[in-house]
């Protein structure tokens, strides 16, 4: 066994995680990008994306997960998502209104339609996904800190 397997859960859990985690991530991305056409959207997709990283953290331990997405990177993506969302909202002022849907809406039920909604979904997904993962990582690290002191 390699050193990677010293921490985390049993081999069965790790194998299944390795097989499924990519699918979970892809499903999250699908929910985000298809959010303006079918039920879903930035928040739901972002949560699923965050869960795929949480899944890795639960199965393999915190080091492996934090190597994939470090806390500072998560924090950066979170702030970036928020700023991106705000910029989209402010760009609406080109048409005179805050949050105005200033891109052409296209044909309903096409992938490229609904103007700024897909962009907003992506921004929300960055914010929620990174934010949720950062919360989880912060709570986990806090727990380890407490245990080390004891």
């Amino acid at each position: 066994m390699s050193r990677e397997h010293d921490k985390g859960m049993s081999l069965i859990v790790k194998t299944i995680t390795r097989l499924t985690v990519g699918l979970i991530l892809l499903y999250g991305i699908y929910i985000v990008l298809h959010g303006h056409v079918s039920p879903g959207g930035g928040f739901a997709g972002g949560v699923i994306i965050a869960l795929s990283f949480v899944h890795i953290m639960l199965a393999y331990g915190k080091e492996v997960a934090l190597k994939k997405l470090s806390r500072s990177a998560a924090s950066f993506f979170e702030s970036f998502g928020a700023v991106f969302f705000l910029v989209i909202a402010l760009l609406g002022f080109t048409g005179g209104y805050f949050f105005l849907n200033f891109i052409s809406k296209g044909k309903p039920f096409n992938l490229f339609s609904a103007g700024i909604i897909p962009l907003c979904n992506i921004a929300i997904c960055l914010k929620v996904g990174a934010g949720l993962f950062a919360i989880f990582a912060a709570l986990v690290l806090l727990k380890f800190e407490t245990e080390e002191k004891e």
């Binding site: 079918s38 039920p39 928040f43 309903p108 039920f109 949720l132 919360i135 912060a138 709570l139 806090l142 727990k143 800190e145 407490t146 002191k149």
Partner: protein, 112 residues
């Protein structure tokens, strides 16, 4: 009617849990229960008799839908609830680190 009363009972359970329990984690669970009861009430407000889910698609006709607005409100409220709960749990873990207990009767240094 009875379903609204059940919703009220759930809310009361949450409030009871907040007021009566001593363990910080149980208080947080009480907050969550009360929160969900409020969300449930909003969803109940939206319901129309024999209404269908308010999802619009290419072939669907807009007829007899339940009110979609409270669903959007509930989603927003859930997101706020997530933030509050995460913060409460973070504070609770810090409290455990400092006081070494979850019992609120032993965490009472502020008085007066």
């Amino acid at each position: 009617m009875s379903i609204y009363l059940l919703c009220l009972i759930l809310f009361s359970c949450g409030i009871y849990c907040i007021l009566r329990k001593r363990n910080i984690i149980k208080i947080i669970i009480g907050v969550i229960i009360a929160e969900y009861a409020a969300h449930l009430f909003l969803v109940l407000v939206a319901y129309r008799m024999r209404g269908r889910s308010p999802i619009f698609s290419a072939e669907a006709e807009i007829k007899n839908m339940v009110d979609p607005l409270p669903h959007a409100l509930v989603l927003t409220a859930i997101v706020i609830g997530l933030a509050t709960t995460a913060l409460l749990i973070g504070i609770a873990m810090r409290i455990y680190e400092k006081y070494g207990t979850f019992d609120i009767t032993r965490i009472r240094e502020l008085k007066g």
